[in-house]
Amino acid sequence: MLAYTIRRLLMLIPVLIGMSLLVFSIVHLIPGDPAKTILGEKAPPEVLDNMREELGLNDPLIVQYKNYMVGLLTGDLGRSIKTKAPISQEIKPYLAATIELTFFAMVFAIIIGVNAGIIAAWKHNSWFDYIAMLVALIGVSMPVFWLGLMEQWIFAQKLNWLPSIGRANILNPIKPITNFYIIDSILAGNFTGLKEVIKHLILPSIALGTIPMAIIARMTRSSMLEVMKSDYVRTAKAKGVKEFFLIYKHALKNALIPVLTVVGLQIGMLLGGAVLTETIFAWPGIGKYLYDAISMRDYPVIQSGILVIATMFVIINLIVDLLYSAIDPRIRYR
């Protein structure tokens, strides 16, 4: 297991180098003069010169890449053109907000999706199966922004049960320590704040988690149906294993591999910033950060944002791969 993990970690190096190359070239793929694109056609020449100097465009390409890589390895992502602040500092709260939201959206998606899938397979062709799969179909087909707006309209506007926007109550602000508000409010002992933070998480988590939930439910169901026909499930039944353990022990662990793949991909996608959800719920996440940067043509921020998202995607994939081998012992030896 350790050897496998080390091997997988080493395999990350070429992936990350390739990624950095791609991201580095973004600025250089801008047609014409990047400085002009950023500042506009009418910018005075000395300002353009300053911009070129700031972006390091006057150095030879190889030197530029070297500087960029040295920066990355020392945790320097450059500075935002708009705010002049170092991006590595600026991005932290946005990243934390997105991770927090993704975490709760996926917890919701996995708990409901996996169990709905299992029960649908267990009670194959029952009314539960039909309803669950109908709901899953609706869930996959529903546009996220529409679901978000409907949630806000019903639960915030009409029923006034839950807040519709933001991460916390403005009247009870959370002092950022880790920027994960759940952790920060606990660290500060601010339990009314914690309650508010959780309330703020519910609606966007459901909006963001619905599509993954539907996909996970469908995947779990088909995977379980396949596994439940297998010889080893019959063997377990012939031993006198209770149906619950037949399903949740013998079948589920075998059925999890394809489900895990889907979960990994979905987490990666959600971490990539759910721009629509974050915009509707005024959630200050990485999607919103990037969206603003794109509209301001803040290229260093765009570059760094993409790099951070891509890195997280790679890390999630690595974790999924390691989990595969933890679940299925045959994978390690292939």
Partner: protein, 342 residues
């Protein structure tokens, strides 16, 4: 010739009595009778072979006894008595108490019959804990002891290994150890050696014979291999198209087979002494349940078929001491077709 009806056995020390078992599968194309009226009994410590081609209903019979027929589609009727207690259509909960505890089963495919994501130890201990009141430690000891009993070397280490790390023969030994771990009275073995190499086959059969002696377990051996039957069984049932066509002790069956189907089966077994170049095979195939002949099910493939065979089904009757067969050829005064033959 004795024309007594089958099934009127004197009560003996039977562990299993199956009476008029019918297993019907409901499908979109209509009901399929996979087993239609099978009766037999199994004595304590006896090995009973069930022989037949694929589709003869032998596996469905064994799954019916275990209560492993999927429920809404499959329906059972008749009677299955275990030590005198009716177990057909028991509730899942009651059946669980019997499975693996009183009646165990091993399957044809050792490669896929063990769960690939749990260790051998986990699966062995689970079987023990399900039916025996032991602590986890004691259950582990019991599992190791059983693995040793079936001739697995380094049993402690095997406990920590996964099924894919073992060979087919080893896996089948594990399956047998698991099935025997709660001292069942009956072991149902569904083609236990079909997927194995010949040398391994012999080892596994040896092992089963020894275990039977040591534990006085009755074995229901399902196979299509007459060689295995000759080596292992005390009595044999020959099944064809969901029915028993012949039943006798193993010597009689080979020396003096009665039913044309049994004769065909024996003739199609390769022999070293035979001068013939080409191996005999029974012409045709087992009829599918949709196009089942009206009279004797074997009639399209039978070289002795008479008129009556096409019209009415023969009953299973005694043709000798403890020897039953269902063929019109045995019934001297075959009823004319107008009369009711049932």
């Amino acid at each position: 010739m004795d024309l007594d009806k089958a099934g009127e056995n004197v009560e003996e020390d039977y562990v299993l009595e199956v009476d008029q078992l019918k297993t019907i599968f409901r499908t979109e194309d209509g009901d399929i009778p996979a087993v239609s009226g099978v009766s037999f009994s199994l004595k304590a410590g006896e090995t009973l072979g069930i022989v037949g081609e694929s589709g003869s209903g032998k596996s469905v019979t064994s799954l019916s006894i275990m209560g492993l027929i999927p429920k809404p589609q499959g329906r059972l009727s008749g009677s299955i008595r275990y030590k005198g207690k009716e177990i057909i259509n028991l509730s899942e909960g009651e059946m669980r108490e019997i499975r693996g505890n009183e009646i165990s089963m091993i399957f044809q495919e050792p490669m896929t019959s063990l769960n690939p994501v749990f260790t051998i130890g986990n699966q062995m201990v689970e079987a023990v804990l399900l039916h025996m009141e032991l602590s986890k430690k004691e259950a582990e000891q019991r599992a190791i002891e059983m693995l040793r009993q079936v001739g697995i070397p380094r049993a402690e280490e095997i406990m920590k290994e996964y099924p894919h790390q073992l060979s087919g023969g080893m896996r089948q030994r594990v399956m047998i150890a698991m099935a025997m771990s709660c001292n069942p009275s009956i072991l149902i073995a569904d083609e236990p050696t079909t997927a194995l190499d010949v040398t391994i086959q012999a080892q596994i059969l040896d092992l089963m014979r020894n275990l039977k002696k040591d534990f006085n377990t009755s074995i229901l051996l399902i196979t299509h291999d007459l060689g295995v039957v000759a080596e292992m069984c005390d009595r044999v049932i020959v099944m064809y198209a969901g029915k028993i066509v012949e039943e006798s002790d193993v010597r009689t069956l080979f020396k003096n087979p009665n039913h044309p189907y049994t004769k065909g089966l024996i003739k199609s077994t390769p022999r070293l002494t035979s001068e013939k170049q080409r191996l005999y095979s029974i012409p045709g195939n087992v009829p599918s349940f949709k196009e089942m002949p009206k009279g004797c099910k074997f009639v399209p493939r039978c070289e002795y078929a008479k008129d009556i065979c096409y019209k009415n089904e023969p009953e299973l009757v005694y043709v000798g001491e403890d020897h039953k067969s269902s063929c019109w050829l045995n019934i001297e005064q075959a009823p004319s077709i107008e009369e009711d033959a049932s």
